[in-house]
Symmetry: C2
Subunit: 306 residues, 2 copies
């Protein structure tokens, strides 16, 4: 989720002037990979940590590392919400679908997640979730978990031809929000406009992306990565206006084994809007791993001011 | 939603043998159009009718006219669920997004819908919805309504080139479920396989569709029409296996005025799967009116048995 309404002027002026901050590349020695990575210490794990209370709800806290212009990066909120399902003692199976609705911008501070199974079938489970701050609902959501069995399978959406990650340069500048620093993003096409002159003619973005520093992929981090796209409106119009995600859905095609096989590799993330109309636009997006397996498809509805 | 698990053998054998029932075309005199149509008497309006109770919940009843193989057509359930929001005295604005999760097959009979605003902002509102039968949740959902203002707008997904509705023949046969009779469907590509020989190689379907008899389009009927696609798995594999929609999301790009302008015209409905994997597949779909305005985009996650 990108919330831009009521953004501090420093952000808006940075975008409008094209004064993006300098990209911090990987450290000279490279990132730690695979088994050598201490995932428990990763900043993502700190951000999505929750404590279950005696009444079954979970306590969490917004993360300064994933701050957006206004409130937190929506991807981290989605990951926190999903993590309540993942940590729930009654959970059956793995996440297959999650929808999260951004009802209000979260304030910096603690929040309470109520995730409970609305219906439990033999091998599937439907969840209803909300996140509250000061007794008011800020996020709503639903999720579906299932015990998956091996079946006939095929990816109809093949990974588009793209240069490999090591042949795609880091961008010359990056947006000045904290959460952006937690991801290594290598835009292939449709990067953040460097000039805001209204010259856009399409909204397709393709980029290689992974956590920075790298972290083995799991359902929570894939939910967060599903929100890594900056607003399609910016690409389509090369114009920055206030925006904010209203609703996001993620369909997990991968199971835990396929996420584990992906490890700390890059994901090819692709997004494209379908319509911009009277204050709202959508996008449809796909995330493949480097081996070309379609891990997730995801959709958003996003508010824009004008 | 198509539910096929535990379908009566008559349906499965009809599909497996290719013995589809003969299509009922429009009556010789044609359908009534526009102002001459008594919408209050339309079978769709009867099916989505709800009565609000003193506790704020709504009573509804499944419709024999929209029966599917097992339980009701998911589109009519989506329309009923959305109608609770539309009829709610506290509603602010028009529907922009709705997600419905099919937690269990509805039994023929009455149900109770609880739709309540979880958060009301200045010009937007987030809804949490569930449908119960005998005290058990059968559907969950969320919706987002908003007062929309005119802004810069563009359809990035143009309507694909297609022959006009009057040049597309009705199919020689149609599936033997009641709800199918409530729609006039003119498949252009990717129609229901006539031979189940495993020969499919893609899941794209394009068809012209409208209510039968014609009925002026509104949000409830557009929600139902968003579920009109038969399972992508059937097209991709030319094989019929038990299937059932798990979750469906609709983004309404059109406002009430654009729906009214569409009237009783046909919609071009297009759907395509992105991945089939270990028991679940998705589809992404678009619905344009005859003037080429993208009215809605919609996505589904669907269970399949093997």
């Amino acid at each position: 989720m990108w919330v831009w309404d009521r953004a501090p002027p420093v952000f808006l002026s940075a975008f409008n002037s094209g004064l993006l901050i300098e990209t911090e590349g990987p450290p000279a020695g490279g990132f730690l990979h695979g088994d050598t990575l201490l995932t428990t210490a990763h900043i993502f794990d700190q951000a999505v940590a929750l404590q279950q209370q005696s009444d079954g709800t979970f306590n969490g806290h917004t993360s300064a590392a994933y701050a957006n212009m206004v409130g937190p990066f929506g991807g981290i909120s989605a990951a926190q919400l999903l993590n309540a399902v993942l940590l729930h003692p009654q959970r059956l199976g793995e996440p297959v679908s999650v929808t999260i609705n951004f009802a209000a911008a979260l304030a910096d501070g603690p929040f309470v997640i109520d995730a409970h199974p609305a219906r439990t079938n033999r091998s599937t489970q439907h969840w209803v979730i909300d996140v509250q701050q000061n007794g008011e609902i800020v996020l709503t959501g639903t999720a579906f978990t299932a015990i998956r069995r091996e079946t006939w399978s095929v990816d109809e959406d093949a990974m588009p031809p793209c240069p490999p990650p090591d042949q795609v340069a880091l961008p010359p500048g990056q947006a000045p929000m904290e959460w952006v620093k937690q991801y290594e993003m290598r835009p292939i096409v449709g990067g953040m406009p460097q000039v805001w002159d209204g010259s856009g003619d399409g909204s397709l973005t393709q980029l290689w992306v992974r956590d920075q520093p790298p972290r083995p992929l799991d359902f929570a981090s894939l939910a967060a990565l599903s929100d890594v796209f900056f607003p399609r409106l910016f690409v389509r119009r090369a114009t920055s206006v206030p925006v904010g995600t209203v609703s996001m859905t993620v369909y997990f095609h991968a199971d835990a084994a396929q996420l584990q096989a992906t490890g700390t590799g890059y994901l090819l993330a692709q997004a494209r809007a379908q319509a911009f109309r009277n204050g709202y636009f959508d996008h449809t997006a796909q995330l493949w791993n480097e081996a070309g397996v379609l891990l997730a498809t995801t959709h958003q509805l996003v508010y824009f001011k004008n």
